[in-house]
């Protein structure tokens, strides 16, 4: 399974990578903002994306909207400090499948990933 990590913080990407490796996912790609991610998705063809909201060049929400123009099915999980209900709804309307608020524990992230994949797999 190919997973793309989209976050301007290398620290966050490292944490997510460790969690994913513990879950057995080793085919990972990183992007430092929405623009970088868009340039890589066509070649990498991820099966899941973890997307931060606040990023330079192109933020996470914009990335999600542009991504969904051509891909309606690949699961997207927003991983962000934005916790307000209105923001969550906005993200879901844009097309994310699940939402994780920072700070999160590795167990929580692992749980959300499993939950998202099983829902999208079942769909």
């Amino acid at each position: 399974m190919r997973i793309m990590l989209i976050d301007d913080s290398k620290t966050m990407r490292n944490i997510q990578k460790s969690v994913l490796k513990q879950l057995g996912y080793t085919e990972l790609e990183e992007a430092c903002d929405g623009q970088d991610a868009l340039s890589k998705v066509s070649a990498f063809k991820p099966d899941l994306c973890l997307v931060d909201w606040n990023m330079p060049n192109m933020d996470g929400l914009t990335f999600v909207k542009k991504f969904r123009e051509t891909d309606k099915t690949t699961p997207l999980i927003m991983v962000t400090t934005e916790a307000e209900k209105s923001r969550v709804i906005e993200a879901i309307k844009a097309g994310v499948n699940n939402y994780v608020v920072k700070p999160f524990t590795p167990d929580l992230l692992s749980e959300r990933i499993t939950e998202t994949l099983s829902k999208c797999g079942a769909a």
Partner: protein, 506 residues
């Protein structure tokens, strides 16, 4: 002349297989009827096929009869073909095997020359060479080749004469060599032996003589039995058991199974034994040994360094000098000597496990210290910030994640440490039974203790740990603390036993 008349003067004879037909013509009065056509008709009437007849010879004999009918005549007038029987099969050794045999033969010749040469500077290292040809299971050994293929014959009547097939190749030992599509493969690893009349692979190696220059070193996959001596500096390695009937000197012995030394070993401080199974020996002198199983010695153990992962059973043996490490129980006749030779006995330990246990303990302590520092740092960080911004959230997440990883590793390390402790605890109920005497200057290490005997203990005694892990001695019908008989101090050469495990073992 009528047909009846022809029948009276013409006769046929044949060889054994009726491949050759000879026509006999008796003297006759009317030779005019003995014509080639008549003779040919006669022969066909007898069943002889025209294709096998020799018309020229028939015409010739008829002409001779016409010229002088008074003389009896005979001539071969038809011939079929003899069968070609298959020849005895030939063994063609596989190229690699042939080279192995060549090397072994060359070694033997070189060894013979070397034994005549008194010069110590020999360019060939005989200690590393071998004259035994060893094959491995599944190795291709030889091809059975037929030099002549069988071909059926045919007699003058046109009947087929079957050729005989090749004789069964009885020379191959079916228990050790598999024959498949005329190719021989070794069924098991062992010594390849080819004689004039047989091929076989011996699973076990038996050497009637000595291991010396003529044999070279022995490295055999099966069991090995040596009746003669093993010359100094030679090595014998067996994939199973090793049985040596004569005295062993300064040699290296290794077996993946058990080792039996009918007489013993006088190693001159260079002799080495590595046995993954048990060791049974007459005596051991100046030997270094590492034994995976139990050791039984009939005579003495003198100035030897032994590491025994099982028990030592030597009720008639005197242990003098050297250092003996025994994982389990030990029984001996005497330990030390009246002359006061230092003899060290270490009980209840397998050194490899001791080392790992210590390393695990040290790592646990270090890790605990690191975790404590990180927790303090995280605590300070949380105390310093009020409502964290996005960057501080991430920084805190990084610290928490790192702590999570460290705690997880601590868990793994603690489990490993506990497993090792459980392994060690199996040996905590170790005991030393001495039948006759423990002499002064004997040092005994038990889990957590070092015991130095400063006076002789004459008579049978048994030393072990009590339920609290304290060394005790049963002597003359009484059980007393060992400190009443020897100087007992704490010592971590053998890590102290876990009190729970002593309880469980008791």
């Amino acid at each position: 002349m009528s047909a009846y008349d022809l029948d009276t003067i013409l006769k046929l004879s044949y060889d054994e297989h009726k491949v050759v037909a000879t026509l006999h013509i008796a003297p006759c009065e009317n030779p005019g009827s003995v014509t080639p056509d008549m003779v040919t008709a006669y022969l066909e009437g007898q069943g002889i096929r025209r294709q096998f007849m020799y018309p020229k010879d028939i015409a010739e004999i008829c002409a001779e009869v016409g010229a002088d009918p008074s003389v009896p005549r005979a001539c071969v007038i038809a011939r079929g073909s003899e069968p070609v029987n298959a020849s005895k099969p030939e063994i063609v050794l596989d190229k690699e095997l042939a080279e192995q045999i060549d090397r072994a033969e060359r070694h033997k010749l070189d060894a013979q020359d070397a034994s005549k040469n008194t010069d110590d500077d020999q360019p060939i290292n005989f200690y590393e060479m071998s004259s035994i040809v060893i094959v491995v299971r599944g190795q291709r050994l030889a091809q059975i080749e037929q030099t002549t293929e069988p071909a059926d014959g045919v007699d003058v009547f046109g009947q087929s004469i079957p050729a005989s097939e090749s004789a069964t190749f009885d020379a191959i030992d079916p228990d050790s060599i598999q024959l498949k599509d005329n190719v021989c493969f070794a069924r098991h690893s062992g010594e390849f032996v080819q004689t004039a009349s047989s091929l076989r692979v011996n699973k076990n190696l038996e050497i009637q003589g000595d291991v010396d220059f003529s044999t070279g070193r022995i490295d055999f996959p099966g069991s090995v039995c040596i009746h003669g001596l093993i010359q100094d500096n030679f090595s014998v390695k067996s994939g199973k058991d090793l049985d040596i009937r004569s005295l062993v000197g300064r040699a290296t012995l290794e077996s993946l199974g058990s080792t039996f030394l009918a007489r013993g070993m006088a190693g001159k401080d260079k002799g080495k034994i590595i046995a993954w199974g048990d060791l049974v020996a007459g005596y051991l002198e100046s030997v270094h040994a590492s034994i995976g199983g139990d050791v039984r010695v009939k005579g003495e153990i003198t100035n030897s360094t032994l590491q025994i992962d099982g028990s030592l059973d030597a009720p008639n043996a005197s242990i003098r000098g050297g250092e003996i490490v025994v994982a389990k129980d030990a029984v001996a006749s005497t330990i030390g000597s009246e002359q006061g030779i230092t003899t060290v006995l270490v009980l209840g330990t397998i050194p490899a496990i001791e080392v790992l246990t210590r390393q695990a303990g040290e790592l646990e302590d270090k890790l605990e210290s690191v975790i404590e520092n990180r927790e303090k740092k995280l605590g300070s960080f949380n105390a310093a910030i009020g409502k964290p911004n996005a960057s501080q959230i991430e920084e805190r997440m990084e610290m928490e994640f790192a702590l999570h990883e460290l705690r997880s590793r601590r868990g793994v390390l603690t489990n490993a440490h506990q497993s090792l402790s459980r392994l060690r605890s199996r040996h905590s109920k170790c005991s030393l039974n001495v039948k006759r005497a423990i002499y002064t200057k004997t040092e005994l290490y038990l889990p957590g203790h070092r015991c130095v005997f400063e006076r002789d203990i004459i008579g049978e005694c048994t030393i072990s740990l009590d339920r609290k892990g304290i060394p005790v001695i049963e002597y003359r019908g009484e059980s007393k603390p060992l400190r009443d008989f020897a100087k007992v101090v704490s010592d971590e050469r053998v890590l102290a036993a876990d009190p729970d495990s002593i309880q469980n073992a008791a």
